[in-house]
Amino acid sequence: MASVELTNIKKVYPGNVEAVRDVSLTVPNGSFTVLLGPSGCGKSTLLRMIAGLETITSGTCKIGERVVNEIEPAERDIAMVFQNYALYPHMSVYDNMAYGLKNRGTPKSEIEKRVREAAALLAIEDYLTRKPRALSGGQRQRVAMGRAIVREPQVFLFDEPLSNLDAKLRVTMRLEIKRLHNRLNATSIFVTHDQVEAMTLADQVVVMNAGKIEQIGAPGEVYKHPASRFVASFIGAPAMNLMPGRIAEAGSVETPGGKLPFDAKRFSASGEVEVGIRPEDIRTADGANGVPFKAELVEELGATRLLHGNFGTTPIIVAIPASGTQYESKEVRLTVDPAAVHLFDRTTGRSLAR
């Protein structure tokens, strides 16, 4: 096992297209790091540079103690799981898993041993003689992971491995990857655009946007203390409500819907700001205190309900636990815990937290 260290990594494609701009990142030994971001944010490019499938325009990439910029993918001691599995269609499952070892001249008995072990780990022992086309999506994904495991690499790279699976299978495989990581404790880098995958799998989430890192942190950290408006709106479902605000007096912000108190110890803000509140941090209040709100539309999700309506002039979503209460077209009052109010700089989008 080894850590991965990226220093000032840049990728510029012909025509001066900057896919990755100046990314520095440390993936600690044995950690599970998820690169999260919308499509086109450079996360896959970054992963492919670590794998050696893309050249690095500038900066250094270190795996363990070794700078690997100029080293062939096969020599980097990494293994990669692709989105569309990339299994060799004409080889049996066994041969698919054994191929990399064979090319490295591993003795036959050793290959056999490792393939059997990995197959047992992934519960695909019964399919070893089958061709990939005779397998289901989930089984193919397991084989693809098995192919990575038998190599016993320093680092595992996952390039959106779950996006080709149906929703139910995705959850199962997600758990399985998590279990596998707990067991093998291998340094893993996982690329996804799905925040649920990121939150559930990661020790460390790296949120990327437009070729840059927006925030690095534990899943709870990026959820609770988003470093920018982008992270705030990207993580959490439904997305965080954002509205313009003005700080008129200390510890309270003027929003289109009314005055909201915020935690002045956390934020140092003045003048025009952007206010962010998570739908699940808003509560309905009894009596006359709080901001008036009328739900125009209610989405029933079973455990929770989403109320859509206007907060003053800004459309917002409120997530509340399901109950017998009727909310449609009824005026209620909303309160927000001061600790749940996030403030961002209106021009740069960065968090105003101290």
Binding site: L53, E72, A74, M80, F82, P89, H90, Y99, R147
Partner: protein
């Protein structure tokens, strides 16, 4: 599907049978002719049923040859044709799969220029460049040799194009997975590209074998010795125009024999052939 009821459902059979008859009747007549003595055919009243001389005629055709201007037995011609057609088919496939591989998977200066140069040769079949090609072949002393018979016909833009299109459908991730698995370009070609191309190779082999088998103009130029003659030319040479009697029974037997190897190739490779044109395994 269109469903037919009553007697109208026999109409398709009728149409199909008519089609088969139109194609098969000349072949049948050819076979019948090859089993009669030559004077029966020569007097113009061709019988409709097979005659008594099946074994004699075919023995003579295969191992002795006609008594006219070419005395070469047809078995030699068959062998020559078979060698030529196989060499052309295998050579074309080998050359074009390698060039398609380099055009698709390697980035080098003038890659597209190279591809277009190959592409342009589509417009230059042997018939068009026959004089310069003949000159070169004769300068290289390739006359009356298998090399001369096949090499000028081997370069093939069609097959290169065909393989290029196929390679473009192989997902890039497979190349990348191979790279990570430590397979270099040669290994990737041998372990992945070639096995995936199996059905395409089989389909091309059938088409190209028949193309080679049917060559007429080039072999007639490049061969002068009777023992280098291919069967297509052999048939032509057996038909004597002046002064002598054409042994029509032998000519017809030769025609029958000339049909057999291509038919065999098609039948034996039919499964692969259809698969290669219809289905892709990826």
């Amino acid at each position: 599907m269109v469903e037919h009821r009553g007697w109208s459902r026999y109409i398709p059979y009728l149409v199909l049978s008519l089609g088969v008859a139109i194609v098969a009747f000349p072949v049948y007549l050819c076979f019948v002719g090859s089993t009669h003595p030559q004077d029966v055919i020569a007097n113009g009243n061709m019988p409709i049923t097979p005659g008594p001389l099946f074994f004699e005629t075919y023995y003579k055709t295969l191992f002795v040859g006609s008594s006219g201007s070419t005395r070469e037995p047809v078995s030699t011609m068959l062998l020559n044709s078979f060698i030529m057609a196989s060499m052309i088919a295998i050579g074309k496939i080998a050359i074009s799969i390698i060039s398609a591989y380099s055009v698709v998977y390697f980035k080098f200066p003038f890659r597209m220029a190279a591809f277009w140069l190959i592409f342009v040769t589509l417009m230059l079949p042997v018939e068009v460049r026959i004089y310069p090609t003949y000159k070169i072949a004769s300068d290289l002393h390739l006359l009356d040799s298998y090399a001369g018979l096949t090499i000028p016909l081997i370069a093939s833009a069609t097959a290169t194009l065909f393989f290029r299109q196929f390679f473009l459908t192989i997902p890039d991730e497979l190349v990348e997975a191979s790279k990570l698995d430590g397979a270099g370009p040669l290994r990737f070609f041998w372990d992945t590209v070639l096995p995936l191309s199996r059905t395409n190779i089989a389909a091309l082999f059938v088409i190209l074998f028949i193309y080679g088998w049917n060559q007429y103009l080039w072999p007639i130029l490049i061969t002068t010795r009777d023992d280098m003659q291919t069967i297509v030319i052999g048939i032509k040479k057996m038909i004597v125009t002046a002064d002598a009697l054409t042994e029509w029974n032998v000519v017809l037997a030769t025609a029958m024999l000339a049909m057999l190897p291509p038919v065999m190739v098609v039948i034996l490779m039919q499964r692969w052939f259809v698969k290669g044109l219809v289905e892709t395994e990826k």
